[in-house]
């Protein structure tokens, strides 16, 4: 699944990510596209706080794996 949040400002990309993941099973993967300057640090903090996984592919592309419900 690709979630295109280009042009959306903080905190919208992470809100949309959480919504997209809410009804998905553990192990589900999302590629998030975001050019908001807060997304890179905040996705890492979000993953830590919600015990999910995030991998930074490049400055605008992030691979998220759902690890917890």
């Amino acid at each position: 699944m690709i979630l295109d949040c280009l042009g959306k400002r903080c905190p919208l990309p992470i809100i949309e990510l959480a919504k997209a993941l809410s009804d998905k099973p553990v192990g589900f993967e999302v590629t998030l596209l975001s050019d908001d300057p807060a997304s890179a640090p905040d996705l890492i903090a979000w993953a830590r706080m919600t015990t999910n996984s995030v991998e930074t592919i490049d400055s605008k592309t992030f691979k998220i794996t759902k690890l917890a419900n």
């Binding site: 903080c10 905190p11 640090p41």
Partner: protein
């Protein structure tokens, strides 16, 4: 001396001749001695700056020669980042608790040491040794943290002891190898003149602040831990920056727009600052929070003042919880 009288009495230039000038020169010297005694320095090491942030340039650039390297950290002030662009430099990475490792330095390094971070309250434990110079950023620590013995230059912010804003206290150690980086013809450090009423008002403020701090430090520490416990227990998906100085707390809330949070709290009578991108003029998230791995969205920075009461804090925390819930429900 009462403040209105100072504004009347402080008009003459203290450097000129005449009775009025002499009395203002005495006022200025008394103020210097007051600051010196509280800050642990000599009165003749002090200069007053009408532009606080000029002190970063004076303090750092004045210690640099072409052979020196400027060493700073990624949680230093943006003013320090800007100065580093003009010199060979090394940016150290702070740990997730905001601590900087100063052990791997050269004798020719000029180091920026931030005693306390003004956003998170992080108190720096490491001290740079055997280096060419140490600029101490004491703008957030005020009188709370002593200068290291090997300080070269130092900067304080009058607001850190509840004094008037628009005043920096800048000091050059008698043992520092410092050259004035500003155009100058005489020995004066500040381009000046600096407002004498502000200086005297700040000297009065530091006297009463230091006296109060002794009695109120325990209350502020208790309020700090109350706030931290409440947020951790009662507001889910919150992220607290690691603590340090008791009067500062930085808290972030997932899925919350900080601009809405700050303006809603302001409408309800609470003035808080924020390190989130949406609340910043340049739309960039706080480099301090990002460097420490703390969530930058939905961030608020709280300052606990001497006059803050337990009842006010209790009311504020209820309002904060309610506001965070409301803003999350709107999504």
């Amino acid at each position: 001396m009462a403040l209105p009288h100072i504004f009347e009495a402080a008009w003459p230039d203290p450097t000129k001749l005449g009775v009025d000038s002499k009395s203002t020169a005495i006022l200025l010297n008394e103020a210097k001695e007051t600051f010196a005694s509280h800050l642990g320095i000599r009165g003749d090491e002090i200069s007053f700056l009408g532009e606080l942030n000029l002190g970063f340039h004076l303090g750092l650039t004045g210690l640099m020669s072409p052979d020196n390297r400027l060493v700073f950290s990624n949680i230093d002030r943006m003013e320090v980042f800007a100065i580093s662009e003009n010199h060979p430099s090394e940016r150290l990475e702070a740990s997730n608790t905001g601590q900087v490792n100063f052990t791997d330095l050269n004798r020719s390094d000029v180091v920026c040491l931030q005693l306390c971070n003004r956003e998170t309250g992080t108190i720096q434990e490491g001290r740079p040794d055997n280096v060419a110079g140490v600029f101490v950023d004491a703008t957030a620590s005020g009188t709370r943290i002593k200068l290291p013995d090997n300080w070269s230059t130092a900067l304080w912010d009058s607001t850190s002891w509840a004094g008037p804003s628009g005043l920096g206290i800048f000091a050059v150690s008698k043992s520092a190898n410092w050259k004035n980086p500003l155009p100058h013809l005489d020995g004066r450090i500040n381009p000046g003149p600096t407002s004498l009423p502000l200086i005297v008002a700040s000297a009065l403020a530091i006297d009463s602040w230091v006296a109060d701090e002794k009695n109120l430090a325990a209350k502020i520490a208790t309020i700090n831990s109350d706030v931290r416990n409440y947020i951790t227990t009662n507001i889910p998906d919150s992220d607290l920056a690691p603590g340090g100085a008791d009067h500062l707390i930085s808290a972030s809330f997932l899925y919350v727009n900080a601009e809405q949070l700050v303006t809603t709290l302001s409408d309800k009578g609470y003035a808080v600052d924020s390190g989130s991108a949406c609340s910043a003029a340049n739309m960039q998230p706080s480099h301090v929070l990002a460097a420490m791995g703390v969530l930058t969205q939905g961030n608020i920075r709280l300052t606990i003042h001497h006059s803050t009461t337990f009842d006010e804090v209790k009311e504020f925390l209820n309002v904060l919880k309610q506001t965070v819930n409301e803003l999350r429900d709107q999504k």
